[in-house]
């Protein structure tokens, strides 16, 4: 039997004897500084995770404030429309820049990507730590802007409102988004290089788990699109501070130019959010169906296709802004093209269930919730890509509902699903699956009550970003707010089930769900340098060699039966 050496540079270290019982990346070194200055991708991933979850809590509180204010037309909990405007602006800015964009790549991706590759770390560990501290700096600036007068521009910072508003926190928050952009670029750069250079021998491009394909496609968008946002925000800061007219028509600038610049980044950014989510779903569905993913190549290529299309559809945010009819027509036509690879992915996931062996674990429930929510989020994109209906629906609650189905119902639900999928791997503890599943259902129901109602609100003509509204809309707003409270309750339950695992959870086996990719081959939690013995690369979606082990309460992989690991085993596998 040949052993494939560890792919990272340096000599192969087989440290199995040197490693005492219970030694893992969490316990390998101790003390605060061992975390603050860590170069370990796993610890950086964990720090990212807690930070992002903290930001999610903050953004969630603002969302609840917004929903509560909308319980009645006119004042409900604040007399001041400006306060309300700051709430929804903060909710949007925090959720987009601090939570959803970094959540999957930087938090889960950082942890899982090198382990999945069988590598010891990402290509540039120091850059990785630096990108985390850039995130922290961005988060601090974002919160500091509150103390400096807040900002009421909406998360899109549309000019000339953003360059003329008297709110004092605009420049700090623009700087925050600028800094966060660099954090995102560095993560992307790191992942591109890692995937190119640190794949182990035997793991060709089409042997990579689909999560890696998704992270790779995402990383390319991060590297290519984010600089445009950086430059745009810098120009905005310049305009606001030294009055150089770039976007403000009063100084000879053009506000529509800003919208083009902004969406040239922010539309691809939607795919920075959704592509890694799709990757997670591919993993969860394949692992929990215990069968090879249906149409691997179609899924992999559709990730790349979506990444490419994402760059040429930004104009569909501006159908009513004064773009020429010709441009509108072109952007409408191209926007529809995104629907095709997205539909292909959904069909492939469903086909993966066909003749599978479906285990309804908590992560699987999240994946099924994703399938439903993403289908609705994607299909309502048709209403908005269509020219004549977009004119009616643009800037109404229909758009709000649509992007929440995609960004929260899909990206964030996948993130929570991924968190449940890899939680045993990350912390070495099993959570209460029954509680986790119930929480998933409550979030799912609450989500639909909140946001499906908003589709109706929007198509009936309720504009977004309204502090006050016509009394006939109240019933919908009340239902939507009740849904948001339900969802909040679901998230609290999720937190109880996950945190509970630290106190009452059983020790996690190395492979609790029966996964085949490399991260399930190291212990839970992984050792400091990920693999005690050099991992062997097999077919990451061949589950015929995965067996249940009653003793550990998990699965084990009979690698000797996999002909790709052990060429002599062809007969044994065929016999299964």
């Amino acid at each position: 039997m040949t052993t494939i050496p560890l792919p990272s540079s340096g000599p192969v270290r087989d440290t199995i004897e040197a490693r005492p019982e219970g030694d893992n990346y969490l316990t390998h070194t101790r003390g605060l500084f061992s975390w603050i200055f860590t170069l370990d991708h796993k610890r950086i991933g964990v720090m990212y995770m807690w930070s992002v979850l903290g930001a999610f809590l903050l953004g969630g509180i603002f969302a609840l404030l917004v929903r509560t204010e909308l319980l009645t037309p006119g004042p409900t909990i604040t007399e001041d429309a400006n306060t309300y405007n700051q709430w929804f602006t903060l909710h949007g800015a925090i959720m987009v820049f601090l939570v959803i964009i970094p959540s999957i790549p930087a938090a889960l991706g950082n942890f899982i990507l090198p382990v999945m590759l069988g590598a010891k770390d990402v290509a540039f560990p120091r850059l990785n730590l630096f990108s985390y501290y850039l995130w922290v700096a961005g988060a601090i600036l974002c919160v500091a802007s509150l103390a400096m007068g807040g900002f009421d521009t909406g998360w899109t910072f549309y000019t000339p409102y953003s360059t003329t508003t008297t709110a004092g926190g605009v420049i700090p928050v623009l700087t925050a988004a600028f800094v966060l952009g660099f954090s995102s670029i560095f993560t992307g750069l790191n992942f591109v290089v890692t995937v190119h250079k640190l794949r182990p021998p035997g793991m060709t491009w089409f042997r990579m788990p689909l999560f890696l394909w998704a992270l790779y496609a995402t990383a390319i968008i991060q590297v290519l699109a984010t600089p445009v946002l950086g430059i745009t925000l810098l120009l905005l800061i310049v305009e606001r501070t030294v009055n150089i007219g770039i976007f403000n028509p009063a100084m000879g600038g053009d506000p529509v130019l800003y919208q083009h610049f902004f969406w040239f980044y922010s539309h691809p950014a939607v795919y920075i959010m959704i592509l890694p989510a799709m990757g997670i779903i591919s993993e969860i569905i394949a692992v929990n169906s215990h069968r090879s993913i249906f149409g691997y190549r179609f899924i992999a290529f559709s990730s790349i296709a979506i990444a490419m299309f994402s760059f040429i559809v930004w104009g569909h945010h501006m159908f009513t802004s004064g773009q020429s009819a010709l441009l509108n027509t072109l952007f409408s036509a191209i926007s529809f093209s995104v629907a095709i690879p997205s539909a292909v992915k959904v069909f492939n996931w469903i086909a993966t269930l066909y003749k599978g062996s479906v285990s309804l674990t908590t992560p699987m429930w999240y994946a099924l919730a994703f399938l439903f929510l993403f289908t609705i989020g994607g299909l309502t994109g048709l209403h908005l890509a269509t020219l004549s209906t977009d004119v009616h629906l643009h800037d109404t609650y229909f758009v709000v509902a649509h992007f929440h189905y995609v960004m929260m119902g899909s990206a964030l639900i996948a993130m929570i699903g991924g968190l449940h999928h890899w939680w045993p791997k990350i912390f070495g503890r099993m959570y209460d699956e029954r509680l986790g599943t119930i929480a998933c259902w409550i979030i799912f129901i609450g989500f639909n009550v909140t946001f499906f109602t908003q589709f109706i609100l929007g198509s009936k003509g309720m504009p977004r970003r309204y502090y006050d509204y016509q009394p006939e809309f109240q019933i919908y707003h009340v239902i939507s707010t009740i849904g948001s409270y339900t969802m909040a309750f679901g998230f609290v339950l999720t937190a109880v089930s996950l945190f509970g695992s630290f106190f009452t959870g059983r020790k996690a086996p190395a492979n609790p769900w029966g996964g085949r990719s490399l991260e399930w081959q190291c212990t839970s939690p992984p050792p400091f340098d990920n693999f005690a013995k050099a991992p062997r690369v097999g077919d990451c979606y061949d589950f015929s060699v995965v067996h249940w082990d009653e003793k550990t309460g998990g699965y084990w992989v009979d690698e000797s039966a996999d002909p790709e690991v052990n060429p002599g085993a062809g007969g044994a596998k065929a016999a299964l």
């Binding site: 409102y161 053009d254 529809f336 539909a343 066909y354 399938l371 299909l379 269509t386 209906t389 504009p463």
Partner: protein, 397 residues
């Protein structure tokens, strides 16, 4: 411009060849109303849509219906298959994993790539055709100039009349020439399915045609003495008009109404509207014109001392008289000077604690209007601060 329209019409003729799905709806909505002359009335609200009252609303709603049914079908398909597979292939602990599954199936995968492609091309064509109706205003359209500002609308008619609500003739295309005097705004009339962003420094157009007269001919249905805008006497008779591009604290207050009058009433209304101020004698100005003009100020200023975007008008005369200069020490002559300057050049005197956000009303309010507002302020104690009613109305008669 003409080149663009040429390209569009060329594209349209090409598109029509593709338009298998577009056969029926897109134009029929627009044409049926025109052909049958006086249609019975606006379409009733549905589960999804509000009242449809313009000539294009039928086409838009039809497009939306087509897309909705496609969505219902696919959601049912996805949910049905998912539930069926999950139930049927549910795995129980200890069981062997199935191995008889297909890894891929190229013909199937190609099929489910091509079918969505055909469907989205169809939707695009339907949407494109009804969009052309929305985009291109007919040549004989009646022009109304619209100025949006933080946080009010001003509609200006060809004879010079201006109004805060939009009045339009029925049965005739109306073209709105939109401009903004500060930040981005967007004009949205849900019942007409019309929306257009208003970009400062640019003119843009929106157009619609409503064939159903409504409202009270020749008369402002709103009680000019009412403090709070409660809306028209019969809300079913008018259409809402919103701002849909976020523009600051008064964004959600930029709601007005659209009154559709028959051709004759509309002409009469325009004449009355252009002369209403001139017809009021000087001594009656403050209680006849003042409250009506104040309707535009009340988005930001209250009469009863309550907090607003701008300072309340309660006791304003005494306050101004008491301090011959504002916070930054700038002096003003008489209190009338202060008020006049604040209306025409608001940035000159900014009350401490408030932002410099008031737009200028230069060109919108003439001398007589300003006099009316000054008189109104002077006699504020004669008005009920809650309802805005003139308390000495009987005495005046």
């Amino acid at each position: 411009m003409s080149m663009t329209s040429q390209i569009i019409s060329h594209a349209a003729s090409k598109a029509s060849a593709l338009a298998v799905l577009a056969q029926s709806g897109a134009q029929s909505g627009a044409q049926s109303a025109a052909q049958s002359g006086a249609a019975p009335g606006p379409t009733a609200p549905t589960f999804w849509m509000p009242t449809g009252a313009s000539t294009i609303s039928g086409g838009v709603d039809h497009t939306l219906d087509v897309i909705n049914w496609i969505c219902y079908f696919f959601v049912a398909l996805v949910v049905g298959l998912t539930v069926y597979f999950v139930v049927k292939y549910r795995h129980r602990k200890g069981e062997r994993f199935r191995t008889d599954f297909p890894h891929h199936n190229t013909p199937l995968e190609v099929t489910w790539s091509i079918i969505p492609t055909i469907i989205v091309i169809g939707i695009f064509v339907v949407g494109f055709r009804s969009y052309l109706d929305i985009y291109t205003a007919p040549k004989n359209a009646f022009d109304i100039k619209v100025t949006a500002q933080k946080w009010a609308w001003n509609f200006q008619y060809p004879n010079g009349a201006t109004s805060d609500d939009l009045y339009v003739p029925a049965g005739r295309p109306v073209r709105l020439i939109l401009r903004s005097s500060d930040v981005l705004h967007s004009l949205y009339i849900p019942d007409f399915r019309v929306k257009r962003d208003i970009v400062p420094g640019r003119y843009s157009y929106a157009w619609f045609q409503c064939d159903y007269p409504s409202g009270q001919p020749g008369k402002n249905p709103r009680d000019p003495n009412a403090k709070k805008v409660e809306g028209p006497e019969d809300p079913a008779q008018v259409y809402n008009l919103h701002c849909t591009e976020y523009c600051g604290s008064g964004h959600s207050k930029m709601n007005r109404y659209v009154y559709v009058l028959d051709e004759a009433s509309f002409s009469q209304w325009m004449i009355d509207q252009s002369q209403w101020l001139d017809k009021i004698p000087e001594e009656e100005l403050f209680f006849k014109a003042g409250p009506k003009l104040f309707a535009r100020c009340q988005q930001c200023h209250s009469l009863d001392g309550s907090q607003g975007i701008g300072p309340s008008w309660q006791g304003i005369v005494e306050r101004v008289k008491a301090y011959p200069n504002v916070g930054d020490g700038k002096k003003y002559g008489t209190w009338e000077d202060y008020v006049r300057t604040s209306i025409l050049v608001p940035g000159d005197y900014v009350v401490p604690g408030y932002g410099n956000v008031m737009p200028s009303f230069k060109g919108q309010l003439n001398d007589k209007s300003v006099d009316a507002l000054i008189g109104y302020m002077e006699h504020l104690s004669d008005f009920d601060p809650k309802t805005g009613k003139y308390l000495k109305a009987d005495a005046a008669k």
